[in-house]
Structures are given as C-alpha cells and as structure tokens.
C-alpha cells in the first residue's frame, strides 16, 4: 500500500540518530514546560522556533512537535500534584487528579495520566496516518450550526449527572456563561460587562485564571482549614509493582480510553475547538458512561484517564486542519504554521502531494515522540512524587507562588492576579456550600464558542432556529444531547423506589 510505503520513508527520517536525540530532548523539555503553571506548549514552541532555522525543516518540525507532545504530558503533573492546571489543556485533570494525590495515590494518578496520554496519542496518530486526507473534508463539513450542536452536547453531559446537585450544576453553568460574555463582543465589537470600568476586562476572563483561582488558591484555603492540626504529607513511594498495578488499572479502562481518543481526535480536528474543550467533553462523557459516576471528582481513576487521553488525541487532531487546510486548531499549531511558512512550505490541500517527505517525516515522528514522552514521563515520576514529600507548610507557599506566576505569565497583567485571588476566595466559599466547580470552568471554556456559533447560524439562516435540527450532522448531535439530558432522569426513574408506582410522571 502506498500509505505504508510513505510511512516507511517517514520512519527512515525520524529514526535517524539525530532525530531520535531531538525527540528525546524535545519531549523532556516539553514535559517540564508543561508542568510549570503558566507555561504551556505555546511558550515552549515560541521560544524554540527561532532556533530551528539551522537544522533542516524536517528535524525542526520534529523538535517542535516533540515539545508540543511533551508539554501535553507535562500539564497533568502539576494538575495532579499541586492542583494547579499546568497548562490550559490539563484543567479537567485537576478534577480527579488532585483528590487522588490527597488520598496518597499521586504516583498512581501520574502513571495513569502518562499511560492514558500514550494511548490517546497513539490511537490518534494511527487515525491521522490512515485518514488525514479524507478527514479534512469532515472538518470542512463542520459549519457554525454543527459547532453549536457539539458544544451543546458537551454541556448536556455535565447537567444532572450522578453525584452533583442538578440545580447547582445549572446555576454554575449559567454563571460560567455569564462570565464568558465579559469583554468585547465577537460579532459587533461592543464592550460588555466591563466591571468598574477596569480596562483589564476588555480582553475577557481567561478560563485559566478562573481555574487557577478555584483549584489552586481555593484548594489551598480549603486544605488549610481542613488540616489545621495535622498537615497531611503524602506518603510517596514508587516501585515497579506500583507501575505494573497502574498499567493494569489503565488496561481495565480500555472503553473510556478508546472513546476519549476518538472524541479527542475529532474535537481537536475542528478548527474552532481544540484540546481544552476536548478534555472537558471527554471527562463529562466518561462520567456519563461510568458505572460509578458518583466517584468522579473524588479521585476516580477514570476521571484522570479520560481527559488525559482526549487532550493528547486532540493535540494530534489539531495538526490535521493545520496541515491539510492551513487553518490551525490551537495557538500552538498556529505557531507551527508560522514555522512552516518560514521553511517555505505552504500548508493546505496541496501539501501532501507536493511535500510528501516533510509530511510523512512529521507523521512518523509523532509515533516516536509519543513513545519517548511516555518513557521519559514514567521514568521521572519518582522525582515528581518526591517533591510532594516536603512539609505542607512549605508546599502551600510554593503552590501560592506558582498560582500567581501562572496567572501573571500569559497576560503579564496584575489584573489577572487579582482575579485569581478573588476567584480563589469565591471558589473556596462555593466549595464549602457544595457547588460543583467543573461545570463553571466548562461553561467559561465553551461559552464564547457556543455564543459565536449560535449567532452565526442564526444570521446565516435569517433567524430560522429550526436550522439547527434540519442539518444532518447538527441534528444528530442535538438528538444525542437530548438523550443525554434525559438519561439521568431515566436512571433516576429506574432507581427510585417510587418509580414503580408512578412510572410515567418523571418521564414526562
């Protein structure tokens, strides 16, 4: 088959000693960049990009992709150990990763995250290899109506699922949506909700700021309160038995993992979405499909595995529209696109035909980068876990500093640091009142996308709201959303003892 011949040629490039060295260097650097709150793959790629002129384009892109991949793995590390998302894509990993670490299972959580990332990365690279060209057409078929339907699907998975109070979930989603409208209106350019005339609100509220505030600062406040007398030091030892146990645990989750990989790849492929929404959607859907949804948010292994699979799969997926359509699916791929322009390559439908050496060299390097990333990551886990053994009083201060750095670094505005402090206090209080935080973050991530696609569709269809259901793809998504929305209700009917007496009432 022509495909495999191309791939074999590609491996001839990516397996050369220099390129292997570059991959290992890249993933290791990426791992640390990703683990640092406030620094993500974007920063890593941006810093290294100018240095890549000296090596040939194929080696340069291999280095950049290795950093990209490494950072995707690294993001989970601080999410789990410190409860601060190391990168925006790892926001969902904090939901269950942090509770696992508090229960003394940090090592297991890290192993799960690494192996799940590997599975997600590998499945998506295989999908990429086999279907890159035809899938570009799927990305094209996604218009505003389809984007809206997909976002709606993400929301419905979060409403009314086991464990969380339905009303509180809806309140948090509404709050998140309201926060997402802060800033300049995408369509008319009018300023909206500029609180106290602060210029900082013109650029909107970044969900990373919210997540760092709630999960970083809020978490510390909560921990300080609950462990006043006996600061908990996580017992951290890691042996090969633990590793083996972790891999076995992950193995049990094959359903979650394969689902997360497909979902992540697909969502990542859509130019408007990307790895963060993909991870959140995967988390929601795996909770929906889980037999024990009530364990989510309290340290469920699946809750770590599903977003980590999806964000790695999505990072590969977002390379697809960049290469085949010339449209980057994420900020990092936009930088890679810039790099390609620099090397004289024209991304777009003709790239696969005109530059097969480059394309297949890149694809094959994704396989090696993925393998290198999981090995380096697993090898370094004992080091990361060891960091947790420091006394809580010390750790607490470090985490606070990292929160501030992580909030300040991307925008370089004190405004965001104050917001983090504010969100931290509000988050702490809301948590005490038992409000779920994940739907809030989800709503802030997806809100702008949802609003934009909803309004675009209505403008294009002359205000005809039926258009969402008429189009085959978006109609299907909306139908699935409705089912998901009703599913917990049906489960409730089944479980409730009264259900047998009045079977029809709740189904109404």
């Amino acid at each position: 088959m022509e495909l495999f011949a191309h791939l074999a040629d590609g491996f001839a490039t990516s397996l050369s000693p220099l390129n292997l060295f570059i991959v290992i260097l890249g993933v290791t650097a990426g791992l640390f960049i990703g683990a640092m709150p406030g620094l993500g793959s974007v920063n890593g790629v941006a810093i290294v990009l100018p240095m890549t002129f000296i090596v040939p384009p194929s080696s340069a892109i291999i280095l950049l992709c290795a950093i990209y991949y490494g950072a995707m793995y690294g993001g989970a590390i601080s999410s789990i150990l410190l409860g601060i998302p190391g990168a925006s894509t790892a926001v969902a990993t904090t939901f269950d990763g942090r509770p696992m670490a508090q229960q003394g299972k940090a090592g297991l959580a890290l192993i799960v995250a690494a192996t799940a990332s590997f599975v997600g990365g590998t499945i998506s690279v295989i999908l990429f290899t086999l279907f890159a060209a035809p899938l570009a057409d799927v990305a094209l078929a996604f218009g505003p109506a389809e984007e809206f339907a997909l976002v709606l699907l993400a929301f419905t998975t979060f409403v009314g699922l086991g464990g969380d109070d339905v009303l509180k979930t809806i309140i948090m989603i509404c709050l998140g949506l309201a926060l997402s409208t802060v800033g300049l209106d995408l369509i008319s350019g009018q300023p909206r909700l500029i609180f106290f005339d602060q210029p900082g609100f013109y650029s909107g509220i970044s969900f990373l700021v919210l997540a760092i505030g709630i999960y970083g600062v809020g978490e510390i406040l909560y921990t300080i309160e609950t462990s006043k007398s006996a600061p908990s030091v996580t017992p951290a030892r890691l042996t090969f038995r633990d590793l083996w146990y972790g891999i076995k645990e992950v193995n049990k989750l094959w359903r979650t993992l394969s689902f997360g990989s497909f979902l992540g790849f697909f969502v990542g492929m859509l130019p408007a979405a990307g790895a963060t929404p993909a991870a959140l959607m995967s988390y929601g859907l795996s909770k929906l499909m889980s037999k024990k949804p009530e364990t989510f948010g309290k340290g469920a292994i699946e809750g770590v595995a599903s977003p980590e699979t999806a964000n790695n799969a999505a990072s590969t997926g977002s390379l697809l529209p960049m290469l085949t359509l010339g449209i980057p699916g994420s900020p990092t791929t936009a930088l890679l696109l810039g790099g390609m322009v620099m090397w004289g390559l024209v991304p777009g439908p003709m790239l696969f035909i005109e530059q097969p050496d480059f394309v297949w060299g890149l694809i094959s390097s994704l396989y090696t980068a993925n393998l290198a990333a999981v090995l380096v990551n697993l090898a370094l886990i004992p080091l990361f876990v060891w960091a947790l053994r420091m006394p809580f009083t010390v750790l607490c201060a470090i985490v606070l500093v990292l929160c501030i750095v992580g909030g300040f670094a991307p925008s370089q505005k004190m405004h965001d640091v104050w917001l983090i402090a504010g969100f931290g206090i509000v988050g702490y209080l809301m948590r005490k009142a038992d409000y779920p935080m994940a739907p809030l973050v989800l709503a802030l991530v997806l809100g702008p996308l949802m609003e934009k696609s909803f309004r675009q569709t209505l403008i294009a269809e002359q205000g005809n709201i039926v258009a969402f259901v008429e189009r085959p793809l978006s109609g299907t998504f909306i139908a699935i959303s409705v089912v998901f929305f009703l599913l917990p209700l049906l489960k409730y009917v089944k479980r409730s003892p009264r259900a047998q007496k009045v079977p029809n009432e709740p189904a109404e």
């Binding site: 050369s16 000693p17 220099l18 941006a46 810093i47 990009l49 100018p50 240095m51 890549t52 002129f53 000296i54 090596v55 040939p56 080696s59 990305a139 094209l140 078929a141 996604f142 218009g143 505003p144 800033g183 300049l184 209106d185 995408l186 369509i187 008319s188 350019g189 009018q190 300023p191 210029p199 013109y202 650029s203 909107g204 130019p271 408007a272 529209p321 359509l325 010339g326 449209i327 980057p328 900020p331 936009a334 930088l335 696109l337 810039g338 790099g339 322009v341 620099m342 024209v346 991304p347 777009g348 439908p349 003709m350 934009k452 675009q456 403008i459 294009a460 002359q462």
Partner: protein, 325 residues
C-alpha cells in the same frame, strides 16, 4: 550525513549563544532588551495573521532583530481587543502591532476609547487586494452569473466576512450598492475561517484576500470571479477586474506596523530600520509578487498622514453604509 546534522546543531547553539551576548549593530544605539511582542489585529489563519507571521519569520531568518519577535493574536471584536491592548501599553518599547484597515474602522464604529492618532506609526509594508470568490462546485462562472444568483436568492445569499465594519464588509456594501443586490453578511473570526467555510459550503461567497484562498484555489476548491483592483492580478491572469467589467469598484487594504503612544524615538528608529531591511529582502519581494500584494513602503509622518486621510475616507464609507441599511 549525521556529521553535518550535528555540526548544524552545534551551529544553532553557537548562533543562539551569540545572539544573547552580542546583538548585531543596528541603526541608532537603542536595541530591544527582551523579546518583542507583535500584536496581530486578527484571528489565526487569516491574511493578516499569515502576513504577520511571514514578517516575523523573515526577521528571524535574516537576523534583522537582536531579540525574538513573538506574534500574539488579538482578533476579538474586529480588532478592538488589539487596539485596547496597544493603548494599555503606552510607553512600551517592546510592543508593535500589525494593522489592517480595521485599525481605523473599528474605533470609528464603536467607542472603545482609542484614538489612533496617539499611536506611533512605524512602517507600511504593502497594500493587499480583494477578490470575489465562490465555491468551485457552484455553477457561477462570471460576474453576471453571480449577480443573477444573488438576486434569485432574494436576500438569503450568504456572504462570509470577518465582521461588520471590517474591510470585507465594506467591499460587500460596495457590491450591494453597485448591483442593487442584498446579501446576508455572516461574520467569522478570521479570513482563514471564512475561506474554510466557503469551501465547506456553509456560505455562498466571500471577498477574501488572494493569499487566504490561494491554497484552496490551487487545489481546485474555490473559484475567483472578479478582482477589486485597477489591474488584473498576476496570480490570476484569467480573472477580470471589476473595473474592466464596467463596475469601477476598487478597494485595497494597508498592511502596516504601529507602536504604542510614547515609544522612545530611538526605538522607533530601530523598528523603522528593521522594516526597511525587511522591505528590501528578497523573500519579501518574491512573496509580494506571488501573492498579488503591492509593496508600497511608507514611514513616519507620511504614514500618519495616510492613516488620518484613510480614516476620513472610511468615515464617509461607513456613513454611506449605515444610511443604506
């Protein structure tokens, strides 16, 4: 083979080390002390974005700056996000902004507290052109076909663009007035997004810049109908201009760089010299020829005068547009 690679790597490190210790001598005595942020007034993948990234890459490759240039997209609200951002950077010597025509249209349309005359002009690099595009699957071959099809759609014809008040919406308004047609204008986040939605069949036509559609055009997925230029474009020799079809519609878009208010004059001189060298580079000259851009270099006071004049022109255009609807 490997030997050469390792040597290149060694060179790479040597070069980057050299960058840190000794910056190349440039005009004046000022030079950037940290990476320079290049704000882009548009989303990723559009014409403005691609061009800004090309500038960045040429600057890095030819070593025109002693510090890396980092492009940052701030495309929200038709560039309002970027304008506000630049305003907040008053006195900053390490921020420059790549502009397009929304540089004057956005503050005219919405009061965002920005006066562009306060900003420091650096250099105008080029004038970009507009072409009317349809999906290659459509039956439309000529401008007459196009006008007939839009009329038949009765106002439901979907024209994609990057936001009301943006260049493409002005071109759309010109089309509507000239041919007495009515279209539904659907805003997207950037020119690349618009191009993708045309090829995906979600909108019926666009007035993209040539560079935004070139990839799809080469793959046979989109079709140029007519160009809004005085002369035919070298890249599309078979595409007539609006003017030669009897409709004198010409519109172009400036691609310039500006800096925040109160930038140190020495820094202004540094960036001006940098763009002068960029303008003279072979890559840039080849690119403009291939992508149908007119390199039209302008700096300093002359550029500021040009901005003010264009702003007045657009004020009139926008006024006519709001009267029309």
């Amino acid at each position: 083979m490997n030997n050469r690679f390792t040597r290149r790597i060694a060179l790479a490190f040597a070069a980057s080390a050299a960058l840190m210790t000794a910056a190349p001598a440039m005009a004046g005595d000022w030079k950037p002390q940290k990476p320079v942020e290049m704000v882009i007034m548009a989303g990723q993948g559009g014409g403005a974005d691609r061009l800004a990234r090309l500038f960045q890459s040429i600057i890095q490759k030819e070593n025109l700056a002693s510090m890396p240039i980092l492009p940052v997209n701030k495309g929200g609200g038709s560039g309002a996000e970027a304008l506000r951002y630049l305003k907040d950077k008053e006195g900053d010597n390490h921020t420059i902004m790549a502009t397009l025509n929304s540089y004057y249209t956005t503050p005219l349309r919405t009061d965002i507290g920005v006066d562009i005359e306060e900003f420091t002009p650096i250099a105008r690099m080029a004038l970009d052109t507009f072409v009317l595009w349809v999906n290659a699957d459509s039956d439309i071959q000529t401008l007459d076909d196009y006008v007939a099809a839009v009329k038949a759609a009765g106002g439901e014809w979907k024209m994609g663009g990057t936001g009301t008040g943006q260049e493409d919406s002005l071109v759309t308004a010109m089309l509507e007035k000239e041919f007495d047609i009515k279209v539904t204008y659907v805003p997207f986040k950037g020119g690349g997004d618009v191009a993708k939605n045309l090829v995906g069949g979600h909108i019926d036509s666009t007035v993209n810049n040539p560079s935004e559609q070139l990839g799809f055009y080469n793959a046979g997925k989109s079709r140029p109908i007519a160009a809004f230029t005085p002369e035919r474009l070298a890249a599309f020799p078979d595409t007539p201009t609006m003017t030669e079809l009897g409709h004198p519609l010409v519109y172009d878009m400036q691609r310039s760089f500006v800096a925040p208010k109160g930038m140190d004059p020495a820094a202004v001189a540094y960036y001006t010299a940098m763009f002068e060298k960029l303008n003279a580079s072979e890559e840039w000259q080849t690119y403009t020829a291939e992508k149908s851009l007119a390199p039209d270099f302008l700096t300093g006071e002359a550029l500021q005068a040009y901005f003010v004049e264009e702003r007045a022109k657009h004020d009139a255009l926008l006024g006519a547009m709001s009267e029309g609807s």
